[in-house]
Symmetry: C2
Subunit: 360 residues, 2 copies
């Protein structure tokens, strides 16, 4: 379990410096879903746990899989192994994962009364297993690289809570937006408070960076995104900015598939530290659009990891060149690693980022 | 089968006038997948056919389902009932649809030799059933509304031909783009010739508007889209523009999920007549970006049809207001109708477009 640590190891600070748009020796890199099924050691721990939920809800196991990719690859951050649906589960919706399928809630929201009844969970009570995992991971990391905590966004949580499962278009949540917008706003307000409390508790437990995944914001037309997602991302960001415990903790917002004229700009004005960018946006364009208001994180097409390693190397160089020489880039994929990826290719990617990304 | 026709019926010309950015009495409207599973009469004909492929490949049945939505709704266009994968099937890949699943090819492309061996089909031979359907539908429509013919784009066809089925990310096609770009270009060149020949034959058989669906262009990062999709959309457009038989046939390009800075603008410069716009782009923004180079078609979120009819009415009015007063709008959804939609809501939508869209 022990990991080598040296106080002058640049990986201790590379991510945090880049998020604050300060110069770094090379570009920091971590990968969404870096702890995951593409790793044989993850599959072994997952098999040992018996179920995905047991894995996520047992701090020792969550810690183990969080650290696994750091033993293989020269990554610049750890990200808490957890699920984006922990909050609705703690609210009593009864999360489960059928084998080979997505998430499912035993008690999806089916009425205004269901929504009125929801209470904001106390993270140290109902989500204690997450906080324990954060504390354990921080201790095991021992300063080697920063730990990123995260939550789903209010809109994305609402999508699952109303639908009861994954969906192509989350039509139930959208239908509520058209038919009963005030009830949906009530739900989103509750969720914004829950997300802020959850992220605050993660920071208190030791998370050094916080990230909000708005996985389904991109399903919304721009006017609806502004009303039902962006607004609550901004609430979360301003709550975190207003508290002494989270004021200086970098916050990354990732709204996948959100790209419209003015939308990246609006996200950059929420008070967040960085924006996650998916691979369908040109990084030079993203940079030009948000200026130096925030750092950017992304955005290699995750399918690139299926290409030959010389092609991966070329694509990394192209992306870094598109971003340009200024500080403020956290290299990542534009979405999570898929289970079919060869870990050797991840190794090649990380090495290529650090080699092509040298800033001296 | 007989449909009422009057020579002064504005539906005879509304679509064509709007595509040419000429004034119309009200906005024309048709809906992607307007002939489909949400209609009980479609499900009955589909059951009678026994399989989706029999339905699509029997001209009398394809004609019947093409006309069904026109009997219910005051639509301004018919669109050929067919599948985007007819060309690969005619090339010998062996298309089938397993019940409740997507398309599958018995002989997907697995080598450079497979690609080198592909021949451009003669539409009046290997795709005769499509041309017969076009001729039959034109005869049955008897001028009431124009008939739209269509094809999948070269990139989208290549995605399926290389993957062998549907896919979340079409990683095989992308991997070829990185590892063996010249072989992929060879495939796309063949497909661009096949698509142009197919659309030309549809025009010769009576299609009055042609549309190309680049369903999976949006999976590509902008630089890859330019190299592997846009380039071949432009080839198809310029081929159609260079032939007397297709020169004056309006061409609509729909690249779903393609939205980046410069991308709509590039699509508008291919020589097409109109761009299809998905619902994640604000219509006022799309209008501002392409100026008056092309007409626009779209872009209501298809999930809107699940909302109450008063909400549908309001969303239609909002979209029309966003586009503004100038000519050049073909009202449509931003993607196809889903099977769960109540036909009464489609009726409300069509009526709302014609009412709010009056131009006098």
């Amino acid at each position: 379990m022990a990991l080598p640590v040296a106080t002058d190891d640049p990986r201790r600070t590379r991510l945090l410096r880049a998020l604050h748009r300060q110069p770094t020796d090379t570009r920091p890199v971590w990968l969404m879903r870096q702890a995951g099924r593409y790793l044989p050691e993850y599959r072994a721990t997952r098999a040992q746990a018996g179920s995905f939920l047991t894995l996520a809800q047992t701090p020792e196991l969550a810690c183990e899989v969080t650290l696994q990719p750091l033993r293989r690859f020269d990554l610049d951050a750890a990200i808490l192994f957890s699920d984006i649906l922990t909050i609705p589960d703690a609210m009593g919706l009864g999360l489960s994962f059928a084998e080979g399928e997505g998430p499912r809630f035993a008690n999806p929201l089916r009425s205004a009364a269901d929504i009125a009844r929801l209470a904001v969970p106390d993270p140290e009570q109902e989500l204690r297993y997450v906080m324990d995992a954060v504390r354990l991971i921080r201790r095991e990391l021992d300063g080697r690289v920063p730990l990123i905590g995260f939550s789903g966004s209010p809109w994305t949580l609402a999508c699952y809570m109303l639908e009861g499962s994954g969906s192509r278009d989350f039509a139930r949540a959208k239908t509520m937006a058209w038919n009963d917008p005030s009830i949906l706003h009530q739900l989103l307000e509750t969720l914004a408070r829950a997300v802020a409390a959850y992220l605050t508790a993660q920071a208190a437990a030791g998370a050094q960076v916080l990230m909000v995944f708005d996985t389904w914001g991109g399903l919304l037309a721009p006017a609806m995104f502004a009303e039902f997602s962006l607004r609550y991302l901004a609430t979360v960001a301003s709550t975190l900015r207003s508290q002494s415990i989270t004021r200086d903790v970098p916050l990354i917002l990732f709204a996948k598939g959100v790209h419209g004229t003015g939308q990246l700009e609006s996200l950059a004005q929420t008070g967040c530290t960085a924006l996650g960018i998916d691979w369908t946006i040109d990084m030079a364009d993203a940079r030009a659009r948000v200026g130096d208001r925030v750092a950017l994180q992304g955005n290699l097409d995750p399918a690139t990891l299926r290409a030959r390693t010389d092609a991966i190397d070329r694509e990394v160089a192209t992306l870094l060149a598109a971003f340009g020489p200024q500080p403020g880039l956290v290299f990542n994929l534009g979405h999570g690693i898929t289970p079919d990826i060869d870990p050797e290719h991840v190794s090649a990617l990380v090495e290529a980022v650090h080699r092509h990304g040298r800033q001296d």
